[in-house]
């Protein structure tokens, strides 16, 4: 792993019609830290996630994982490399139970059986249990995802990534709408995971949360990367604050 970089995006570009959603963005996600993408609506944050995870094909640029190009790989192949992501709308398996939601992400084979026999099954079961405990969802294991409370759905989306064994978590507004108690549990879960070696990249709008979790901040606006650095430097920059709060010059 060169310079501790897990995922490297170089000069990524994506245009929708005449709109440059991502414009020549280069970004390194370093191992073992939390990087936060901030910027006003329409800055290109989610599009950047989509480009890095194979959900969209870039018009130009390169994406590497551990130094090897992953450009052109399908989303499921990229996922199998160890890149997990969540979505703003969560995309839970709504009619499956909490346990099934987590269990199915541990089952990667497309055929009628999973490899590893009984040992593999025990190992997957243990992974599911660990994810249920880590997200306080053990008591809800038989509840359908659609019947969960909002915060529980958020934690289920994290439980799936946790159980998938991803080394890099790309989280799209994971804390939005959480009550203070759930927010503390969320922070504690993220810190524990980073401590255990997971690398995290978050899209977040709430600046208190950004300040609370970030080791590094990347500021995007209108598809361009404007600044990156430690939270104190970025959040105290009056020019960036003006852009963020919509006070930009015409």
């Amino acid at each position: 792993m060169k310079d501790g970089i897990l995922l490297q995006a170089t000069s990524l570009c994506k245009t929708f019609g005449g709109l440059k959603a991502v414009d020549d963005v280069s970004l390194s996600l370093r191992s073992g830290i939390i990087t936060t993408l901030v910027g006003p609506n329409g800055a290109g944050k989610t599009t950047l996630f989509n480009l890095m995870t194979g959900h969209l094909a870039p018009d130009g640029g390169e994406v590497t994982w551990l130094g090897k190009s992953i450009l052109g790989l399908t989303d499921w192949k990229i996922a199998r490399l160890g890149i997990g992501r969540s979505f703003q709308d969560l995309k839970l398996f709504a009619h499956m139970t909490v346990e099934e939601n987590i269990e199915t992400v541990t089952e990667r084979s497309s055929w009628l059986w999973q490899p590893g026999g009984a040992t593999g099954k025990r190992s997957r079961k243990a992974t599911v249990e660990a994810a249920l405990v880590a997200t306080d969802l053990a008591g809800k294991r038989h509840v359908r995802a659609v019947d969960l409370a909002y915060a529980e759905r958020k934690f289920l989306s994290l439980a799936r990534i946790l159980a998938s064994g991803a080394r890099l978590w790309l989280l799209d507004e994971p804390a939005s709408g959480l009550d203070p108690g759930s927010y503390e549990r969320f922070l504690s879960l993220l810190r524990r995971q980073v401590h255990e070696g997971v690398t995290i990249c978050i899209i977040e709008h709430n600046l208190d949360i950004v300040q609370g979790v970030s080791d590094r901040i990347v500021f995007l606006d209108r598809g361009r990367l404007l600044a990156e650095g430690d939270p104190k430097t970025i959040l105290s920059d009056p020019a960036l604050a003006a852009i963020y709060f919509g006070e930009r010059a015409a």
């Binding site: 989303d75 979505f87 969560l90 009619h95 199915t104 497309s110 659609v146 759905r153």
Partner: protein, 296 residues
């Protein structure tokens, strides 16, 4: 009356096999196929062909039908399942129409519109199943076996993958699931199992023709699944019973002219479907749809 009841029970069992196997892809994987009657037909023609040409018994004739159905479904699924749902519906409709032409025109194998007659009775271990009561037993055993196979599949990791794809295809692939392969395997299994119904049908009636394997049959089987309850094991069986009993029940109503029963039956199906979509979208036995606004 007894013979009539046995006949109806055999036909219900055969249709229930079709409904259970369609539900495997429709209810558990969210794949809407309008070509299920095609695989019913392939099973019937293939079983008839090997039985008449080579003297095959029920099990080997059914095996031949299943193998051919699996192969043909693979040809449909491989290109069509790489795209999203609505394209598969269109592709399956196209294949169903194509199949009707082939069934009609390939006279040396299918007998054309006139069909195939004098199909020998089903034979298992040298024993010929001629009596309708014994055939009912065979049809019920087949239904139970097919249902148990589907039950085992949907409770396995493969079944969870299907349900994940049904609920959110994007999320499923985000978690490393090869959606195209999983859907293809599901369609192949469903089509192969539907061929069992075709084989039973051919041996039971000892006559088949293209009219039994048209788009109307595909739609009727879909109605059985939707009315009975998608993503349940029992729902499609209930749907089959209701849909096949309805014309029988209507024929007993004294004030209905027999010539109008067909039209009234169509109205009843349509009305039942509309009411179910409004009040019980999961079907009579199925899960209840989530209230608007609580969807994730």
């Amino acid at each position: 009356m007894w013979a009539y009841a046995v006949n109806l029970a055999v036909l219900i069992s055969i249709n229930a096999i079709l409904a259970v196997t369609l539900n495997f892809i429709l209810g558990y994987a969210g794949i809407f196929s309008l070509a299920h009657a095609l695989f019913f037909g392939v099973g019937a023609y293939a079983a008839t062909f090997v039985a008449m040409k080579f003297g095959a018994g029920f099990i080997s004739a059914t095996g031949a039908g299943m193998a051919l159905s699996a192969l043909i479904s693979l040809a449909l699924a491989l290109p069509a399942l790489r795209v999203r749902g609505e394209y598969f519906v269109a592709a399956s409709l196209g294949l169903q129409m194509l199949a009707i032409t082939v069934f009609t025109e390939w006279k040396s194998v299918t007998g054309g519109i006139g069909g195939l007659t004098n199909i020998p009775p089903a034979r298992i271990a040298g024993f010929e199943i001629v009596r309708p009561e014994y055939f009912l037993l065979l049809a019920l055993i087949s239904l139970v076996l097919v249902t148990l196979i589907v039950r085992a599949l949907v409770r396995s990791s493969f079944g969870r993958s299907l349900k994940a794809i049904r609920d959110d295809e994007t999320a499923a692939s985000t978690f490393g699931k090869n959606v195209a392969v999983i859907k293809t395997v599901a369609v192949v299994l469903s089509s192969a199992l539907a061929a069992v119904a075709g084989s039973l049908y051919a041996f039971y009636l000892s006559f088949i023709n293209v009219e039994s394997f048209g788009l109307e049959t595909s739609i009727q089987v879909m109605a059985m699944v939707i009315i009975g309850g998608t993503a349940t094991l029992i729902g499609p069986v209930i749907g089959s019973i209701l849909i096949l009993l309805l014309p029988a029940a209507l024929s007993y109503l004294p004030y209905l002219p027999t010539t109008e029963i067909g039209s009234i039956q169509q109205i009843a199906y349509g009305l039942a479907m509309v009411l179910l979509m409004i009040y019980r979208p999961g079907g009579l036995w199925g899960f209840q749809e989530v209230p608007k606004g609580s969807q994730t």
